[in-house]
Symmetry: C2
Subunit: 233 residues, 2 copies
């Protein structure tokens, strides 16, 4: 988002709370468990209130053929405070899943936003920022070597969603090798092999419950700067 003044930066939280209250009062809120599919419809606007959403693209053939995640393309995470919507455009459809337990989503009709024009504006600005991010993502996926696509993809994800720990910056939730493979046009087996290579070279590390990390950057990092450094790298 690109607030144009500091007065505006403080307002969103108030509006956000108002929107959440409104949604709760109108039974437009629901909480999901990990990997549960959000029964989202095209034409509605969804906001992640808590947790994180995993977006996936599905070809219509595989959507009808099987219930499994086979044939789904991982399209990114939508973090709390961010909007998402489901586009159905044959031969592809988008699907949204709760990526962690307790992921809470509220939904609105676009005309509901007429009540909060400033919030409407912010939602559009958020989509604009998501679009910019996806162009960068596409730039990464254009690389010919799978290992370059893999490293570029992981770097972008960790820049956006990573948390600082003593080992570096880590994705705060796990992602399967099959999901990674689907995003970079490769297979689970290849991803597993290449992740091993990247670990050997020290370009990534894995901690705890299979969380992927980039090693610390050389600059000393303190407090308030962290967010900026991660997102601007």
């Amino acid at each position: 988002m690109y607030p144009s003044s500091s007065a505006e930066t403080s307002r969103p939280f108030l509006i956000w709370q108002k929107v959440i209250n409104w949604a709760q009062n109108h039974y437009r809120e629901r909480t999901f468990n990990k990997d549960e599919r959000i029964p989202a419809h095209p034409g509605l606007l969804y906001l992640v209130q808590q947790g994180v959403i995993r977006l996936a693209g599905v070809s219509e053939q595989s959507a009808s053929k099987e219930e499994s995640e086979e044939g789904e393309t991982f399209l990114g995470f939508i973090a709390a405070g961010q909007p998402f919507e489901i586009v159905a455009q044959s031969p592809y459809a988008l699907q949204a899943y709760a990526h962690v337990d307790g992921t809470s989503v509220i939904w609105l009709y676009w005309q509901d936003l007429d009540n909060w024009p400033h919030f409407h504006w912010e939602v559009l600005e958020a989509f604009r920022a998501q679009h910019q991010r996806k162009l960068i993502w596409l730039s990464t996926l254009g690389q010919r070597q799978t290992i370059e696509r893999l490293l570029g993809f992981l770097t972008l994800l960790i820049e956006e969603h990573g948390k600082p720990v003593k080992e570096g910056y880590c994705l705060p939730f796990s992602l399967t090798h099959a999901q990674i493979g689907s995003a970079i046009g490769s297979t689970r087996v290849t991803v597993t092999r290449l992740m091993g290579k990247l670990r050997e070279k020290g370009m990534i590390t894995i901690i705890g419950d299979n969380l992927i990390c980039l090693p610390s950057y050389p600059e000393p990092i303190t407090g308030a700067e962290e967010e900026t450094i991660i997102s601007k790298r």
Copy 2:
């Protein structure tokens, strides 16, 4: 764009003309030849007035290393009437090129749009639509088989920019095999080979000056329906 009433659908053209006039009066308009790079800066808003823009992602290494198109990822076309902007986010940068002769671009600071709030809204809605489109594009690129990525990619491009001719629907401008390869994470050589396969199978045809076409759809197509059929397929 998603105008919510027919009154609004008629207004954009008036506003669009006003914005163009304003830009011309303020020397914010320039015309480019094919493959000329638009000297676009992050933080400004660009509108394609005429012709078509080719967006490319460049890794910073290759941007500094060489002047050629090597290492650039084709990220799509921006048609007349559409906005674009340049994001610089290391290790990637976006670049914009005129894809055909006589491509004319106007540019604005975001604050200039304060004069036309409705137009500002439309620009954001256009980015929202571009974002939805890019998610579908990413779904295609997640496919494992290069030939599937290639066909999916061509289908999306032709859906969006194709013109009806007697042979089917054709991209109205050419795209090199190297550019296609960059978009789908493959090489010029592979694209040439797979394009041959797709032609043999009758899944694509090539007409005139190397224009790529999808064969006609079985439904009879008349006049006003054409646009809808192309974009909704």
